[in-house]
């Protein structure tokens, strides 16, 4: 399988997950990496969400372990990139890494009980979760509602500008010999002896030893085109952007409902407030979760619901102008866990996808895990929960081009 240049790898998708995987493999040595994308790099889901790098929203389990690994790797990776060739320090500055910490606020008694229980479990799993009394909360977030029943501070939560983060990871991969091909859509597979040996693309065939499906919410479609369907679906999220404000929000502040919405699969609209400021002064107000396929129509009632939830946390923002709304599609698997590993049905095909609303944060840990699996070295965390041949991934009928 090895050529004189090493193992040839083609990463399918240049979002943040593909970028992180390309970088890990390029740095590992022994791989000749190409990243392909039908559009431009990092401009799909990665540029249509937010950049929270969170441990606070995850209960004990495999996703939290992946989040903790990622949280440790982020500052290391950014420091390493900044030391790279000319221009990379600027690329890292653009990432706007900010370990500002998260604050979760409950506004009902039931919410407070749930939050305290959740935090106790998290602490047992090694997450720092510090209760804030009313005075401490007011000091940390002077504009947050006084009508709260509980508040917790998660000092490990951080934030990046996601498109810049992907560009920095990809730029580092390119600096380490990776090739990027944009405007190149993967159409289908070429197999020999049951093994994936090349992908057909709009720019001709691309042969390689390994292919990594990192096509985000389109991973299900792409995998179906390659003949090995996985059940990754889109879940729409919308975000509001305010006009630039003087400093008003200092942490990532979200309501305790968030914890419930992430793990739920309901079809209909769910919203929970996530409020954070950006370096430009705008405040981002998220977000919603809807399963509507790839329907990107603006829905005023969804924006209204987000606005109402945000005002419950920050009533003082009522007079602030909202100047933009945008949204994207979270790549999600019915059991809400990413898919990372080799596809047992089609040798040569690997998957790194299904990160739902956490792919920015989890990208870097995912890439490390994938590298170890490709190498055959013992990963730092148990990869079994993310394996491809689990019922949630292979269970459903293959999504056709039309149905997702």
């Amino acid at each position: 399988m090895r050529t004189m240049y090493g193992t040839r790898v083609v990463v399918l998708g240049a979002g943040i997950v593909g970028a992180a995987c390309a970088r890990e493999l390029a740095l590992a040595g022994g791989f000749q990496v190409t990243v392909v994308d039908r559009g431009g790099a990092a401009e799909a889901t990665t540029a249509h969400g937010e950049g929270n790098v969170l441990v606070s929203d995850k209960g004990p389990g495999p996703e939290l372990r992946l989040a903790q690994l990622s949280r440790r790797l982020w500052p290391e990776a950014l420091a390493a990139i900044a030391d790279g060739p000319a221009g990379s320090a600027r690329a890292v500055r653009a990432v706007e890494w900010d370990p500002k910490g998260g604050i979760v606020v409950a506004t009902t008694e039931a919410g407070a009980d749930g939050l305290h229980r959740f935090a106790a479990d998290q602490r047992a799993a090694g997450v720092r979760a510090e209760p804030l009394d009313a005075a401490a909360l007011a000091a940390a977030e002077p504009h947050v509602t006084r009508d709260h029943t509980a508040a917790l501070h998660y000092p490990e939560d951080a934030q990046v500008q996601p498109a810049a983060a992907a560009a920095a990871l990809l730029g580092d991969a390119l600096a380490h010999g990776t090739t990027l091909r944009t405007g190149c859509e993967v159409l289908g597979a070429r197999t020999r002896g049951g093994r994936l040996t090349a992908v057909r693309t709009t720019e001709g065939d691309l042969a390689a030893d390994l292919f990594i499906n990192a096509a985000g919410p389109w991973s299900g479609r792409l995998a179906a085109r390659l003949g090995a369907p996985v059940d990754v679906r889109p879940r729409r999220g919308d975000i509001l952007v305010t006009a630039p404000l003087p400093p008003t929000v200092f942490h990532k502040v979200y309501d305790a409902d968030y914890v419930g919405a992430v793990g739920s699969s309901a079809e209909d609209l769910q919203t929970s407030a996530v409020v954070e400021s950006t370096r430009g002064g705008s405040v981002l107000l998220g977000s919603s979760r809807r399963r509507t396929g790839f329907d990107d129509r603006l829905r005023p009632e969804v924006l209204s619901a987000i606005a109402a939830k945000a005002l419950r946390l920050f009533p003082g923002l009522a007079g602030v102008p909202v100047m933009r709304a945008y949204g994207g599609f979270r790549p999600y698997v019915p059991d809400h866990l990413p898919v990372i590993g080799a596809d047992p049905r089609l040798p040569g095909l690997w998957h790194a996808t299904g990160h739902e609303g956490a792919g920015i944060g989890l990208s870097i840990g995912t890439a490390r895990l994938l590298r170890d699996l490709v190498h055959g070295t013992e990963p730092e965390i148990d990869p079994a929960p993310f394996r491809v041949d689990r019922p949630a991934v292979l269970g459903a009928p293959a999504p056709s081009e039309e149905s997702v």
Binding site: R38, G39, G40, A41, A42, E43, A44, T45, A47, G87, R90, A91, A94, Q161, A163, A164, A166, A167, L170, G171, A173, L174, L180, T182, G183, C184, E185, T202, W218, P234, L240, T242, A243, P244, L245, P246, G280, G281, L285, F294, D295, R297, L298, P300, L303, S304, A307, A308, A310, L311, L317, A318, G319, V320, P321, V322, M323, R324, A325, G328
Partner: protein, 608 residues
């Protein structure tokens, strides 16, 4: 000299004696007169700037019509109010804003309706004509405009408070406009919604025919707690017009540098002259009415500079000169302006433009230079001129956010993108018509004809009606005229030669040309959306209305935008995409719209 108000006694419009009103601005009393916008009050009081950008640089009025968001301030506690749009009210407490230190302190819906319901957005020449012919076709029309009074940019009306006895003195075709306005607004099947902005269009479910739902806010510009409405028309006519496209040059962000339309709007709409030593530069016949309005207002005009050399202009017009002659109103109007310039000894120079503005805290001098046909500067031809105001307009930029939100296909032309329409003014979206400057720049008469056609067909009028033949013919002439205009006044491709690395490209976020160049040439970050997030160019309060087309052009030239297929569901990065067509306050967004009961006839808001 500073901008100043024309004295009522000397005002040709026969304005009534001023009724003073008092504001406090940052705690200081400032006196204005009833009818002025807050920007008008401040300019007349001698302030050319009142906001500071992130870098601390001073800012004031630039576009004058609510597009650039440069003039925002806090009014009665509500931040980010566009001063050029907001009428001053006695007792207003105004606080200026700064981004530097981070301190602001500062319908008729539905299926049960038997009568066909048409919503017309924009009451300029195109929209007003559309409403009239919708009524003629027998349908009901809801005409709405963000402004308080109809007329659009062309027939910008004086505020009622000015009590002008002879408002028509400032306008061409005023009597006809007045007749039309009264006929439309007074019609029993017309609902006129003044001060009503469309903030969103909601497309129907895929597969469902019909135009989008229209979401509106009614109240003073950038007010608070404005009621929301949702209109569900059978057909929609979009006529939101255009604004000046100003290309960046060093110093264009200085107070005292205005988009030409701002000078026009302030003179026509507020009787304010922006300066005494004014230089006009750019391209196109629109510079002439601006010069005329400034002269009428008593301002000194140093010169009018047309960037294109005589050969380009002549070639553009001369190939089929009868097409110009067949826009009768326009030809006479242009002749009149030319005579006026001659009378005032204002030189009209071709092949020359402003390539730099200089000054401390405001414009004090302009550097002009001779241009080659591609707008590259002839070395050594630079001349420095002392000015107290500079007006610039290189082209027009259609307001495309509503058509894009509706899902209308655009047409790329050498002068930019416009809404694609068929011979019936129908866009690519069922039930959505487009008229006026959003389909091409050809002036008010052409906008009117397009509106008349669109309104008739939107209202269910017979497409084969005999009277329509003439309308269609005029419309076709209007289109031909637009093509001539574009050929005679192109934007030369070498204009980026004026730029320096430190020249501001995005006025809102103060992104400079150097930053744009650096980012667009980085392979991993070259996608337009990624560049935008990294440089912030286009992310500011105006949402790329001002910088968008320029940034798109520059990044494409820098080798930025890679080819490729857009991802399903995700819109392509486009300079005119603004899903929120107007800012809406969070509290307003959280409130529920009132859905008027469709079984009840709409109450008439006003018949002003």
């Amino acid at each position: 000299m500073s901008p100043r108000l024309i004295r009522a006694a000397a005002d040709a419009t026969g304005r009534r004696p001023d009724r003073p009103l008092h504001l406090t601005v940052d705690g200081e009393p400032v006196t204005g007169i009833a009818g002025q916008s807050i920007a008008g009050v401040l300019l007349a009081a001698g302030r050319t700037s009142w906001r500071t950008a992130r870098s601390g640089a001073p800012r004031g009025v630039f576009c004058g019509i609510g597009v650039c968001f440069d003039c925002v301030l806090t009014v009665n506690g509500a931040p980010d109010v566009r001063a050029c749009r907001r009428r001053a009210v006695d007792g207003d407490v105004v606080i200026t804003q700064s981004r530097a230190d981070g301190s602001t302190d500062g319908a008729a819906g539905g299926g049960r309706m038997t009568l066909r319901q048409v919503v017309v957005v924009g009451a300029g020449p195109a929209g007003l004509a559309a409403a009239a012919s919708t009524l003629a076709a027998g349908a009901a029309v809801t005409l709405l405009d963000a402004a308080e009074r109809p007329g659009g940019q062309y027939h910008r009306m004086l505020p009622e408070e000015y009590g002008a006895a002879r408002p028509g003195r400032l306008h061409h075709g005023w009597a006809a406009f007045e007749r039309l306005r009264h006929r439309v607004l007074g019609h029993p099947r017309c609902t006129w919604l003044a001060e009503t902005a469309v903030w969103a269009l909601e497309r129907p479910e895929p597969g469902c025919p019909g135009p989008p739902l229209v979401h509106t806010l009614t109240g003073p510009a950038d007010g608070t707690d404005r009621p929301r409405r949702t209109l569900a028309p059978d057909a929609l006519v979009l006529a939101p017009g255009a604004h000046d496209r100003v290309l960046p040059f060093p110093g264009w962000e200085l107070p005292g540098v205005y988009a030409a339309g701002a000078a026009q709007a302030l003179a026509k709409g507020e009787r304010l002259a922006i300066g005494d030593d004014v230089l006009l530069a750019g391209s196109g016949p629109f510079l002439l009415p601006v010069a005329a309005a400034l002269l009428e207002a008593g301002a000194g005009v140093r010169a009018v500079l047309e960037a294109n050399p005589p050969a380009t202009v002549a070639r553009g017009w001369a190939r089929r000169p009868w097409e110009l002659a067949e826009q009768p109103g326009k030809a006479a109007e242009l002749a009149e302006y030319t005579a006026l310039l001659a009378r005032h000894r204002v030189p009209y120079r071709m092949g020359r433009t402003v390539i730099e503005a200089r000054g401390k805290g405001r414009v004090e001098e302009a550097v002009t230079a001779r241009l080659r046909p591609d707008w590259s500067v002839v070395p050594g031809s630079e001349v420095t001129v002392a000015v107290d105001a500079l007006c610039v307009s290189h082209a027009f930029s259609p307001q495309l956010e509503l058509p894009m939100a509706a899902g209308c296909a655009l047409l790329r032309s050498p002068t930019g993108e416009f809404v694609a329409v068929d011979g019936d003014q129908l866009t690519s979206c069922p039930g959505v018509y487009a008229a006026g400057e959003i389909t091409g720049i050809a002036g008010a008469p052409a906008a009117r004809t397009e509106g008349a056609l669109a309104g008739w067909l939107a209202g269910g009028g017979d497409p084969a009606a005999p009277a329509l033949r003439r309308v269609r013919r005029n419309r076709d002439r209007g289109r031909a005229f637009a093509a001539r205009l574009a050929a005679a006044h192109p934007v030369g491709s070498a204009w980026p030669g004026w730029l320096r690395p430190e020249t501001v490209i995005c006025r809102c976020e103060e992104t400079d040309y150097g930053a744009l160049c650096r980012t667009a040439t980085e392979e991993a970050g070259a996608a337009p959306r990624v560049t935008k997030l990294a440089t912030r160019a286009g992310l500011g309060p105006c949402q790329a209305r001002i910088c968008g087309p320029t940034v798109a052009e520059l990044t494409a030239r820098l080798g930025g935008s890679p080819p490729g297929r857009p991802a399903d569901g995700l819109p392509v990065a486009a300079p005119h995409r603004r899903p929120l067509a107007q800012p809406i306050r969070l509290g307003e967004l959280a409130s529920t719209p009132d859905h008027p009961d469709p079984s009840e006839p709409d109450t008439k808001e006003s018949t002003a």
